[in-house]
């Protein structure tokens, strides 16, 4: 498609402005992490690596990081198992209320976090009468993590139809052998993508987390919020933010590569 000169310049300008709006603040965070100012004043009066050293020694930050990783890992594992099973059921079988079940599974991702948070908080404490803890947080995260896995797996299963599974059964394989040897390998990359997305969702979730984490359970986002406005902690928070920004590129890149590879395989 050919664009006129003016259109090209306008579009290029818009692109640059939007990208700058997203990435300049990230650059500022990086500068703050090496600024000598404790209160993130601008422009930075000077540069130092002190905050990086402090961040790497901060037990609060490291523990919070550990908690976040553990919660995200367990929540996405639960999501992988349940999401896959749900996708299999809804793509391969006909049953009463199927459309409703589909809607109910996907809904949590659309629900405002604050609603999910309040609802689960109520359910845990008053209905079930349990104390908030790490596991209540994991369960809460799993509710919306399931959606990403389910959506990915469901789309893949629907696109393939049942032909490969029929071929497998025709060749003598039962239901479980067929799943193990045909369906699962075929689903693997979409499950990886869905799982990574679930991990990322859980890792930086803060609203639902606020309502469902037990006292003493501090995820990284909670820790950052708590320390953001404490004197002399702000630069340490900036360091953590930079580390997270760099780390978050990795799963994204993997997920993108997997999806691209699949698109290629499907095209052939």
């Amino acid at each position: 498609m050919q664009l006129g000169r003016v259109a090209r310049i306008v579009l290029a300008t818009i692109t640059v402005v939007v990208l700058a709006l997203i990435y300049l603040p990230l650059g500022v965070v990086f500068l703050n992490s090496i600024s000598t100012s404790e209160s993130l004043s601008w422009p930075p009066p000077g540069f130092t690596l002190e905050w990086w050293g402090r961040a790497l020694e901060s037990t609060g930050a490291l523990e919070a990081l550990g908690t976040s990783v553990v919660v995200a890992l367990i929540a996405s594992t639960i999501a992988l198992v349940l999401g896959t099973l749900a996708a299999m059921a809804l793509s391969r079988y006909r049953f009463f209320g199927k459309e409703t079940v589909n809607l109910l599974i996907v809904l949590p991702i659309a629900l405002p976090g604050i609603v999910t948070g309040i609802a689960l908080n109520n359910a845990f404490r008053t209905l079930m009468g349990v104390d908030l803890a790490m596991w209540t947080l994991v369960v809460a995260h799993a509710t919306f993590c399931i959606v990403t896995v389910y959506n990915n797996a469901f789309a893949r299963l629907n696109a393939s139809g049942t032909r490969l599974e029929e071929a497998s059964m025709d060749l003598g394989a039962g239901l479980f052998t067929t799943f193990r040897l045909v369906t699962f390998p075929y689903l693997k990359s979409s499950l990886m993508a869905g799982g990574l997305l679930a991990f990322a969702l859980s890792f930086d979730e803060i609203i639902v987390t606020t309502f469902t984490a037990g006292s003493g359970v501090t995820t990284l986002p909670l820790w950052i919020l708590q320390n953001m406005f404490r004197p002399s902690q702000a630069p340490v928070v900036a360091v953590i933010a930079v580390i997270l920004a760099v780390l978050s590129v990795i799963p994204l890149a993997i997920a993108q590569r997997l999806t691209a590879k699949d698109a290629e395989a499907v095209a052939r």
């Binding site: 029929e166 060749l171 394989a173 052998t177 040897l181």
Partner: protein, 335 residues
Amino acid sequence: MESAIRLRGLHKSFGDTIAVADLDLDIEPGEFFSMLGPSGSGKTTVLRIIAGFEQPTRGTVSLFGTDVTSLPPFTRPVNTVFQDYALFPHLSVIANVEYGLRVAGVGRKERRAQAEEALGAVRLAGLEDRRPHELSGGQRQRVALARAIVLRPQALLLDEPLGALDLKLREQMQVELKELQRSLGITFVFVTHDQDEALTLSDRVAVFDAGEVVQLGTPREVYDHPRNRFIASFVGSSTLLEPDVAAALGLARTPMAVRPERVTLAESGPGVPGTIAEVIYTGPEHRIVVDLDGLDARITALEPNIGAHHRRERGDRVMVTIEPAAAAPLEPEAA
């Protein structure tokens, strides 16, 4: 002798649509049996019921004397070659062919040997380590065949296996399929909408229309004696003669179908006079359409292309004759 495949009162409906209507069918051991019909005529549904992918609404399926109606596909002694091949994209060619043996617990060495042999039988040795997407359509077709025959099924079910191939390859695969069936000596049940293919390959053909078998017989029986208008026009081409026209041509006063190659044209002599309305050159033959004098009817004749000096022209006057044995009386249409 026991039938290889016996269907009794087989009925399948999807909601309000009847896909297969109370079908009785016997397919014999070692037979190349075709199910021919337009799309939506129920032939593929019957194949899927035999394979076990669909449950009939009522009726029974027996394979070699055993009622398998309620058995799942993985316990039935038949294998399928799918229309789009359905090769496993994540497995190599050899792993695709070994799949059934692997699932059955055959040892690594033994199954490799058998898979190699099957690949040899479909003339595909040397491509063991390729992935399906690296193969041509014809090669994929052969892998699908090898994958099915390596299990030595008692019957092989083929669902429009040549549909995706181009004409040349199709003709070549037809010959190979026939040879393979002869050398294996097993029953082939072949679903197709291509009447040429069905006539060329089959020992017997069942012509499907609207969920029913409308005619069952050898290719010769079906082609030479189509039972009704549908078969006469679907299997090959025919001119349908109304009772008056048939009578004028010296045949019985009843609806008839006549194949164009059985219509004789002459410059003079006996017959019904007519004027040539169209001459279509097809290479090996001329297809000649004649308007019959005073009958408001057209008839198509086929004459071999035997040189320019024998050419007929539009507007030529000809005499049309049909041997009584060359015309097939049609059953009256069911209202």
